[in-house]
Amino acid sequence: MTPWIAVLVGSLAVFSWKFLGYVLPARFLESKKLSTFAGFLTIGLLSGLVGVQTFVSSQKIEFDARVPALLIAVILLRFKVPFIVIVIVAGATAALLRLAF
């Protein structure tokens, strides 16, 4: 698969949910289980990605500069620091640690 095909298929896949919502009858909204599932799935997928992005390198668990960077991000999140600051500080933390060691 080429990146272009993936970009187009992926976009269409994401669009399909949005469009579906406008053509389906409203009673689907009343299904509590279904909307809970959607909420849970978003949490599961995004945090799973965080885990793999932080602790895994080529099929091995590895604790490196990414771990302290994420810890600092969590502290900043608790203090309600704006998104862009968190992203930059986390990146800078990892970059500086790698420079130092």
Partner: protein, 225 residues
Amino acid sequence: MSLGKGPVGSVALSVGFAVGIYGVSFGALSVTAGFDIWQTIALSVLMFSGGSQFAFVAVFASGGLAALPAAITSAWLVGIRNGFYALSLAPTVGPRGFMKILASQLTIDESTAVSTSRTGPKEQRAGFWLTGISVFVFWNSATVIGALLGGVVSDPKVFGLDAAAAAALFALVWPRIQNSIGALIAACSIVLGCLFALVLPSGFPVLAGALIAVLIGFWFEGRKK
């Protein structure tokens, strides 16, 4: 900031600007993950859903071409909540014909949040369209800037962009894990994703871990009642 107060136009503008800033980090991360500038822009214009886009790029960054099917699947599943937004907006926004396609594309976290916090159908419709258009313009302009900046970086590790990507994803999920079920699902998903990563090819560990974590979430919720 209160989304429900003040002129709807200025709320839409400020939400668009605030979200647009995320677009810079998306553009930079996408290019350093290995997509070119045009693919990065196409993602922001066509996929147009922050969570899905970050997920798509993160899976590709970790597994390359072989992980593209998993990247598509992850983005698709992360986007499922937009379907529920559309369902809840349908009665007020009520798009017909071609407008249905436009409305679908603009149905995201922010346009839904502004629309549902306004009172009266007229304000709610305006909130949806103005915020959707505003975020679309800011998000895509910011993506271009980020992609150009990211193009200067050769190795994502140099500026800690791998850690920045993890922080960005965590910031996206943060508001959703401020209750015990959300936190439990997140913790299970992180642990399971890492364990599956030892044995499964890139991209699939997260899918498998997340599905099991969701089941654990339902079990926990059932027990609480």
